[in-house]
């Protein structure tokens, strides 16, 4: 009870900081709009695309719409909410308001907990948008809706939430570690799009093994795997001798381990450093 009261208190402080921030609303608005209508763009592209791109009905109908919306969400959370998370921390460091919050009475753990609660709210918000937009678009495009099909998601919604937490945790760690906003954005996006991918490709080239699938970002991505990889994966599996996509339970357990390590490291940095 005491813990819930504390979390509510810390969240109300974060809310006071965020609610008048233009950037906060622009990013959340952009996220909602892009997430809600992004998949409808497939109507323009898919009819003119050639195989192996699946048919339009696969994109927009239950149950496969969950995979495609999830994949769009994967990108949006990674880019937009990751950016917002980094901004919410580095701006506090840059404006020295983190320091002031501590001076005013928060402990370092309180400050971290407040940011963690903020990340959980963002992840929950993203998951809600994911769920509602998928249900609405799916209903609008599926004939003879079968309710068992609608919720045939294999825990994808929960995995989407954990994926969001994963990205936001890594974004938070980089922000606390690097402190400067520009450098944090560069490192975050460089790691996600270049560094880890580069290391995995080197590993694939020199000592091909399944271990290449267990890098942090790949694990987080595979919580909601790219549905467009399903078909090429059949060929890759034959060539490599293993699937290019982790099993959901593997991604889940490894992601939980990574998230715990990253949270521990962030706290260690925060408590050890002068601010």
């Amino acid at each position: 009870m005491k813990f819930i009261h504390k979390i509510t208190h810390l969240l109300s402080i974060e809310w006071l900081k965020a609610k008048y921030s233009t950037l906060f609303w622009v990013i959340l608005g952009g996220f909602t709009v892009l997430f809600s209508i992004g998949i409808l763009y497939s109507k323009k592209v898919v009819p003119f695309a050639s195989p192996p791109l699946p048919s339009l009905s696969t994109f927009l109908e239950f149950p496969t719409i969950w995979d495609y919306q999830g994949h769009i969400g994967n990108w949006l959370v990674c880019v937009l909410l990751g950016f917002l998370m980094i901004n919410s921390i580095t701006s506090e460091i840059g404006y020295k308001t983190m320091r002031q919050n501590i001076i005013d009475g928060l402990t370092k753990d309180d400050f971290l907990l407040g940011k963690a609660a903020f990340a959980v709210c963002l992840a929950t918000f993203a998951t809600l948008i994911y769920t509602f937009s998928t249900i609405v678009i799916g209903f609008a495009h599926t004939n003879d809706v079968d309710f068992t099909l609608i919720f045939d998601t294999n825990g994808l919604v929960a995995r989407f939430w954990l994926m969001s937490i994963g990205y936001l945790t890594i974004a938070g760690f980089i922000a606390f570690g690097v402190k400067r906003s520009g450098l944090s954005y560069i490192l975050y996006f460089a790691y996600i799009f270049l560094i880890e991918f580069g290391i995995r490709m080197l590993q694939l080239y020199y000592f091909k093994s399944r271990a290449m699938l267990f890098y942090p970002i790949n694990v987080i991505e595979d919580l909601v795997p790219n549905p467009l990889l399903k078909m090429p994966n059949v060929f890759l599996e034959k060539e490599w001798g293993f699937s290019a996509i982790l099993e959901p339970w593997e991604a889940l357990i490894t992601a939980l381990i990574y998230i715990s390590i990253v949270i521990w490291l962030t706290r260690y940095l925060m408590l050890k450093r002068d601010i």
Partner: protein, 298 residues
């Protein structure tokens, strides 16, 4: 026995090879107004930073309020450390609301606080539009939230114009008169002398002196003497046991004299020796002079 507000024991902090604080120990009791003095880099801000948990000491410890509030002691201290730190996209009221929320303080008296610090008219302007003086005032305003037991200021009048300095000084004096315990780091010695009951002098991280101002200040008075023949004047002063030369300037000599000696006595002694004084000013010793002497001696 006075209630202990803060106990510092053997506090040391180094930044690599630089020793910023060296075994500083100090006790502050309720109602004291402590001025922490020291040249740039003496460790004033480092001391306050450690006391507010934003810096980590390497050695030593400190205890606020005899440990009554545990790790939440900062909620009972109104603190202003270095530059004013607020959210630039928020206005004064919104910024104070955040500080109040953190402290668990009520927000009903925000208007009163804003009036006290002279920001009521600009309360709805964003922080980023404020001048340095206005930012400094908002910082003082945030310190007043929740009617804290202790106020801790780091150079509170830094960046203010003379009118602003006078206004902030008035606010601090009012707080002192309400019986608040105040800890204040300052370069501005006349301000400390006017406001503080106690001082602590730091140099290169070492505590050189601490105690009530009356104890620290030498009892001696200062006399400024001038004559057309400064060499004869200097030779004569050296023969007088009651007078010690502090500084010899171009056209005057400044000496320390016992407080029982009057200007008439000095004038008559000089006249007896055939020295005509063109200048004779007897005054109390100022904190600035004591500070310079202490920091030079050690």
């Amino acid at each position: 026995m006075d209630t202990e507000i803060l106990r510092i024991e053997n506090l040391s902090k180094n930044y690599g090879k630089i020793q910023a604080l060296d075994k500083v120990s100090l006790i502050v009791t309720k109602g004291q107004v402590l001025g922490i003095l020291g040249p740039n880099g003496s460790g004033k801000t480092t001391t306050l930073g450690i006391l507010l948990s934003v810096l980590r000491q390497n050695v030593g410890s400190y205890t606020w309020f005899e440990g009554r509030y545990g790790e939440h002691y900062r909620k009972h201290i109104g603190s202003m450390l270095e530059t004013p730190n607020f959210y630039p996209y928020l206005n004064a009221v919104q910024n104070l609301e955040i500080a109040a929320k953190i402290k668990g303080a009520k927000t009903e008296n925000l208007d009163e606080i804003l009036t006290t610090i002279g920001l009521y008219e600009r309360r709805n302007s964003k922080f980023k539009t404020y001048s340095l003086g206005m930012k400094q005032r908002l910082s003082i305003g945030a310190c007043l939230l929740g009617d804290p037991e202790v106020l801790l200021f780091d150079e509170p009048t830094n960046g203010l114009d003379p009118q602003g300095i006078a206004e902030i000084r008035e606010v601090i004096i009012k707080l002192r008169d309400q019986g608040k315990t105040i800890i204040m780091a300052s370069h501005y010695l006349p301000e400390v002398e006017k406001i503080c009951s106690h001082i602590a002098i730091l140099k290169k991280g070492k505590l050189l002196a601490s105690g009530a101002i009356g104890q620290i200040l030498n009892d001696d008075n200062i006399v400024e003497l001038g004559s057309e023949n400064l060499e004869s004047l200097e030779s004569w002063i050296k023969t007088r046991e009651e007078m010690n030369i502090n500084i010899i300037q171009k056209d005057l000599i400044e000496c320390s004299v016992n407080k029982s000696i009057t200007a008439t006595q000095i004038n008559s002694w000089a006249y007896e020796e055939g020295i005509v004084l063109s200048r004779l000013v007897l005054r109390k010793r100022m904190l600035e002079e004591e500070f310079i002497q202490i920091t030079q001696d050690k």
